[in-house]
């Protein structure tokens, strides 16, 4: 039997141990305790976050599957649906960037095809320290090639994502991977072990000692001995996963498949108890039947190994041979390891002798949730910045160049050109614009995909930052011509046991929930990653929003590139004098602090609706939202993307650096033929959206003048070729020098 001391060593709190004893009516043995420790880790149980996650809107007319399954599902009409989910692999990537990131991708892909869906796209949301640090370069290059090698080998295009660099992520990078699949409604499969007497089979790779305790590893702070915990890092085998994908999709065509579940964190333990708990059944399995690649593995090791590329399949009794036949075709293992029972227990045998027996539901869902203390962190009281003391630089060309060469704004081509983003021949808007667009063959439809989060905003004001992450994601879809449908999120935070971190977490969720409600984009799946901190510092609160949008007619898609000389360029929305949280204030002026830009959801919604209408009516040639770097950067990006110039003028009463580089929300720039201008103005008027003419697409320079009462107060004038080179090569240059 195992006691409290063992429990503590496995990371269980005393009250959790007591709860286990109460549930079992006896002391657990060491194997049982080990299974509890992984299942009740934060990573698997969400014990710190569950009550807060309830604040998200999770339903809607299009939601076919909300949180709780392996991935969320949202209807897109034509009997088709999008399946999506995002997941973190932060800690493994901090220790072994290449394999950590690769296996993160592998895991999220399994979550999608577990539902029966064909994975069609990947996205990756990444955060690192400053690229001036050699170790950061190593982590960054390793993570990117890990993602590339896995996704590329799978033949799933990586079509989008984001990368930010900030010291707060130096020791604890964030690696979040999102996968999106397409499925027919009648093909949806769930992770359920139903039907007493049905067979439980293990398919795919063999089981080794790799990745023991990965779930627990993800549920504690990183420290020096994290490196010593090497077995927590697995090696990915994308080739095996590709075979597994094809075999599983073939398998799932059959009605006699009852349920299927991938083996992720906590391996066989989690997949068996979760499938049983969902179906209200039990499972009896014998570890001796599990195909292994190492000798002398104990039941404990087999039950919690996180060897990759494995799935648990529950099939109607009598169809075991059919399963084997399909997997043999793909040169894969398929072995019956147990049966479904009706007693609600997860019973583990070794060569017929019971070695563990616990209620499946208590393992899967029984972790006592903890109400953490939440207190506004002290730093938030000292964020005010007196803007009047900040002198506006005279050389605005120089400011623009500095912004465009900041790795946070510069082109991410160095990253996404290592990803195969054109395989499957569906990518009709590749990475580089605001959102990627995929066509869906056999229909007129398209889907748009993006991930967004400004962690720095969330640090300055978690509530506004959370709201903004959702709004920006939606805005990025809208400028591509898509109607936002649903969210999958990855909530990356520090140690939740610290009241300040918990405050950030709650406020971010509240902000996201409010925006999600307002913009009709329910949260259908997600992931929480806590303990992203080292002794010295926690990461910025980083609630990454992955969003999918629908284009009824994919021919109506839009990109950010200026396309035609002579087109008029307009701004939807209003300039503000906000500078807080901007890249300009922090990276160019060296001032940390201020309030992030406010977001008025009502205005946001109207701006988005107006933009979408204009695109759907075919009135515009380009659309691009204003985000990091402000209006000047947004205009410059549209120029660079279109390989053309711009000439314009802004009349304002505001600080001209705020107008050019401030990151005021709910703004979109569009270019259009001049003859469409009055119509757009009319639409904007009807939607009660501010619209103003900024200038014209014009060969040559990027040129903009800011005037106050007709008098020039600031000017940018610079050849597009020059800024294109700087923006295009900044990251390559930093990594390779």
């Amino acid at each position: 039997m195992a006691g409290r001391d063992d429990a503590r060593k496995l990371g269980l709190a005393d009250y959790e141990y007591d709860e286990i004893v109460k549930t079992l009516g006896r002391e657990p043995n060491y194997l049982e305790l080990g299974m509890y420790s992984v299942m009740w880790s934060e990573h698997c149980s969400y014990k710190n976050s569950k009550p807060v996650l309830k604040r998200f809107p999770t339903s809607g007319p299009r939601v076919l599957q909300g949180p709780g399954e392996n991935a969320g599902i949202v209807d897109i009409g034509d009997n088709l649906a999008v399946v999506m989910k995002v997941e973190s692999h932060n800690h493994p990537s901090a220790v072994e960037p290449y394999q950590g990131a690769a296996t993160g991708v592998g895991g999220i892909i399994r979550d999608i095809f577990t539902m029966g869906a064909r994975p069609v796209a990947l996205l990756d949301s990444l955060r690192f320290g400053s690229l001036d640090d050699p170790r950061v370069k190593y982590l960054f290059s390793g993570v990117v090639s890990g993602i590339a090698d896995y996704g590329n080998c799978m033949g799933i295009p990586t079509v989008g994502g984001e990368v930010y660099f900030d010291d707060s992520y130096r020791d604890n990078p964030l690696v979040n991977a999102m996968c999106v699949g397409i499925i027919q409604h009648d093909r949806i499969v769930k992770g359920r072990a139903a039907g007493v007497g049905n067979s439980v089979m293990l398919v795919g790779s063999t089981t080794g000692r790799d990745g023991m305790h990965g779930a627990s590893f993800a549920s504690e702070e990183l420290s020096e001995d994290s490196v010593a915990k090497r077995p927590s890092v697995q090696v990915g085998d994308p080739f095996m996963e590709k075979l597994l994908l094809e075999a599983c999709l073939e398998l799932l065509q059959n009605k006699w498949v009852v349920g299927i579940q991938d083996l992720g964190a906590a391996g066989l333990t989690s997949s068996s108890c979760e499938t049983a708990a969902r179906a209200g059944s039990g499972i009896e399995l014998d570890v001796a039947l599990v195909p292994r690649r190492e000798e002398n593995m104990t039941p404990y090791e087999v039950m919690i190994s996180e060897s990759q590329e494995r799935m648990l399949v529950i099939v109607e009794k009598g169809h075991e041979q059919d399963v084997k036949k399909i997997f043999e075709k793909w040169d894969l293992n398929a072995v019956k390891i147990g049966t479904v029972t009706d007693d609600g227990m997860l019973r583990v045998l070794e060569n017929g002798t019971v070695v563990a027996e616990v209620p499946a539901r208590s393992l899967a869902d029984g972790a006592p949730s903890v109400k953490r203390e939440s207190r506004k962190p002290d730093y938030m009281e000292t964020l005010d910045v007196d803007l009047s003391s900040i002198k506006i630089p005279a050389d605005l060309n120089d400011v623009l160049i500095k912004l465009l060469s900041s790795p946070n704004i510069a082109s991410k081509a160095w990253v996404y050109q290592q990803y195969d983003h054109t395989v499957r021949t569906d990518t009709v808007v590749p990475p580089g614009s605001d959102a990627a667009v995929l066509r869906i063959k056999g229909t007129k439809k398209g889907i748009a995909l993006t991930t967004d989060c400004n962690g720095y905003y969330c640090y300055l004001d978690p509530y506004e930052g959370g709201k903004q992450a959702v709004a920006e994601a939606a805005r990025n879809l809208v400028v591509a011509g898509a109607r936002p449908l649903a969210i999958t999120d990855c909530l990356n935070f520090g140690n939740p046991e610290k009241p300040g971190v918990y405050y950030q977490f709650e406020k971010c969720v509240d902000g996201m929930a409010e925006a999600a409600r307002y913009l009709n984009t329910p949260v259908i799946s997600g992931n929480v990653s806590f303990y992203n901190e080292t002794r010295e510092n926690a990461i910025y609160p980083t609630p990454v929003v992955g969003m999918v949008g629908l284009l009824e007619d994919v021919e109506k898609r839009c990109t950010m590139a200026f396309k035609k000389e002579g087109d008029v360029v307009v701004l939807l929305g209003e300039n503000t004098d906000e500078l807080g949280g901007s890249v300009y204030l922090r990276e160019v002026m060296g001032v940390k602090g201020g309030r992030p830009p406010r977001l008025n959801l009502d205005v946001e919604k109207r701006v988005q609706d107006c933009c979408l209408k204009a695109i759907e009516l075919g009135l515009v040639h380009s659309a691009h939202d204003v985000s990091e770097g402000g209006l000047a950067v947004a205009l410059a990006e549209s120029c660079i993307a279109g390989n053309t110039g711009f000439s314009g003028e802004i009349e304002t009463e505001l600080r001209h650096d705020a107008v050019l580089f401030g990151e005021g929300q709910s703004r979109i720039i569009m270019s259009l033929p001049e003859e469409n201008l009055s119509l757009i103005q009319k639409i904007a008027g009807e939607s009660n959206v501010n619209i103003s003419v900024l200038g014209f697409v014009k060969q040559g320079n990027f040129k903009i003048e800011v005037k106050h009462k007709g008098v020039n107060i600031g000017k940018i004038d610079i050849p597009v070729e020059e800024i294109a080179g700087i923006w295009g090569n900044a990251i390559r240059w930093k990594v390779e020098n």
């Binding site: 590329n152 590709k242 021949t425």
Partner: protein, 237 residues
């Protein structure tokens, strides 16, 4: 024209090639699983698609070339059937010795996914008849091991017989070092066999064969094949 697309374990452009042959070109197309053999009379065109057969473990294409389907491919090649190897398919053709040379990892060790410009060096092949000689086309690449190598002797022979079909160039058609994405000898992007019926190329024509993809420069590879095959039928060859 009857087309076959071979599915090796780890192929992932099989669906794209199938789509190009069947939906874009409108020709009857079948998948052939790597464990199957077929008869060379069954097909006019056999496509070896891109991807990562056997994970590209050991060397790209090294393990795939031993599959039963490859035995049939080799026989079909001997029988003069058209064989098109794209990306991983090209690598397999090299390993199977249906084409000379070998492939190494890209010079910068990175996977490259972006458009490149190609110069059509030889339009007198079944695969390039609809291009002009010297024409510059834009085609995407997506590979980590496209660094073509052949020793000097082999290169001399290859060039002498017009075996070089595509080279990487800049937008003006200059075959320069900067325009070489992977370090290939003499910027080689695609070569043809001595009999002219086996083509291997790293760039992906099937990814730029439709308007909706924003580029149709690759479509003529497939149309050239079709024209050639229909021409052969008409001439009773």
């Amino acid at each position: 024209m009857k087309c076959a697309v071979i599915m090796f374990p780890g192929s992932n452009c099989d669906v794209d090639c199938y789509h190009a042959c069947r939906d874009v070109l409108g020709q009857p197309t079948e998948y052939v699983f790597h464990k199957e053999k077929f008869s060379s009379v069954d097909f006019d065109l056999i496509v070896l698609p891109g991807g990562f057969s056997y994970g590209d473990y050991l060397r790209a294409g090294a393990i795939a070339r031993f599959s039963p389907a490859m035995e049939s491919v080799i026989k079909a090649a001997e029988a003069g059937k058209l064989i098109l190897g794209i990306c991983n398919g090209f690598q397999i053709l090299l390993e199977a010795k249906l084409l000379p040379g070998a492939m190494k990892r890209n010079r910068d060790l990175k996977f490259h996914c972006h458009d490149v410009f190609l110069r059509v060096e030889n339009n007198n092949t079944p695969f390039t008849g609809l291009y002009k000689k010297g024409e510059i086309i834009k085609v995407p690449i997506a590979h980590g091991e496209g660094n073509y190598f052949a020793d000097r002797d082999t290169m001399e022979k290859l060039k002498a017989r017009g075996g070089v079909v595509f080279t990487y160039c800049d937008r003006d058609g200059n075959v320069t070092e900067e325009a070489n994405p992977n370090g290939s000898v003499e910027n080689i992007a695609g070569i043809v066999s001595e009999q002219g019926n086996v083509l291997g190329m790293m760039p992906h024509p099937e990814r730029c064969a439709e308007d909706i993809l924003g580029n149709t420069d690759g479509r003529r590879v497939f149309e050239s094949i079709l024209q050639y095959v229909e021409g052969s039928v008409a001439h009773g060859r």
